[in-house]
Symmetry: C2
């Protein structure tokens, strides 16, 4: 007996032995009782192991803390949502009416969760080998890009400070130049003045710290450093 392949099976190049698993992985909890939350929980652990092992092997000499930060970068919601979008997962996820009407299929959290659930379904259907192959096909480009030199995982302010110190320059000066919005939705605008740059850079964010990071990142860019 043959069945029609699910569009995602074609995109992944994998045919499920138990297509019900894939169906469940693409069902948001708003759409019914057999939804994807448990598969997402499983998939998160599968993804964690696959990425951890890959980083462990790709970077044999970096300490555990750096491995941890690199992993966090790969499995964070924004990254997973971007991968889900590249698979056009949005229009395959079954949502309840409320979620559908409020644009749930474009939301990062719903996309990232569904991708993790699909990874959980692949693991249950085909074992760790299948899940690993699929995860590395989806995230491998991001990993390959790093080669054997891990990116600097420290935050922008730390990297800017180190860069300036290595050149014997003064420390950057941050200043809050504006705040707006009410207490629960405050926005900060912070300037960052750096020796060697004619103009201060300006960052915005929902906290002073976030705005400073944004300004530091722009300063690194202006100095020709990776932001």
């Amino acid at each position: 007996m043959t069945r029609k392949a699910h569009p995602l099976e074609a995109r992944l190049g994998y045919s499920f032995g138990k297509p019900a698993l894939l169906k469940q992985a693409l069902t948001h909890r708003s759409a019914g009782p057999l939804h994807n939350e448990r598969l997402e929980f499983l998939g998160d652990a599968v993804l964690g192991l696959v990425i951890t092992q890959r980083l462990y092997q790709q970077f044999p000499d970096i300490p555990e803390g750096d491995l941890s930060r690199l992993r966090a970068r790969l499995v964070r919601r924004e990254t997973l949502a971007a991968v889900a979008r590249s698979l056009e997962l949005g229009n395959l996820i079954k949502l309840g009416a409320g979620e559908k009407n409020t644009g749930g299929s474009r939301r990062d959290s719903i996309l990232a969760d569904a991708l993790e659930a699909v990874i959980g379904a692949l693991y249950l259907d085909g074992g760790l080998g299948v899940a690993e192959t699929q995860v590395l096909a989806l995230l491998g480009e991001r990993l390959d890009r790093w080669g054997d030199t891990p990116p600097d995982t420290r935050d922008a302010k730390s990297r800017l400070q180190e860069f300036l110190q290595s050149r014997g320059h003064d420390l950057p000066v941050y200043e809050v130049v504006a705040t707006s919005g009410k207490a629960h939705a405050r926005q900060f605008r912070v300037s960052c003045q750096v020796q060697g740059l004619p103009d201060a850079t300006t960052g915005e964010g929902s906290s002073r710290r976030a705005a400073e990071q944004s300004a530091a990142s722009l300063a690194l860019k202006a100095l020709g450093q990776p932001a």
Copy 2:
């Protein structure tokens, strides 16, 4: 060529193809550059997947949040340290002089980390199947004890409140009856008065909340409920 089995290999009933992995897993970072921190990071992910999959299968009907709380209970430091002690790992861990002199081999964190590193080493040496068999041999008794009825993972106050409401009783009344110690080491003593119990129970803790939980737990016990 034969080699003498490491004592832990005998205890686990597993012989390493690459005994250097086991040696590294049992080397604390205080003892030299080839220490177990990276293996611990890997082992943590292996342990996470094995336990997640087992809970997923053992409890097919409980929501993701309960799976998550059960997993946290199994992989927390105290549990892993107890398992490490049952393997007598303490006298097998290589420590630097400082750690050795301050009783490092009895410390929960060092024991739990070394156990995770051993799990990482088993995974690299034998693959997921070997690691899974070993993890379930070490933690399976705790899992088997739960059968197909997961323990109630809610905290004592929540369970006490629900128990009383289900009987149409009043809500419990908590009262701070004493505080002692200086600001940075405050101790609270809280009483819990419950309809149907002649005497209030009394709990202590380093926060009001912790003391309330302790008092609620004692009240559940006095009511013949799992505390």
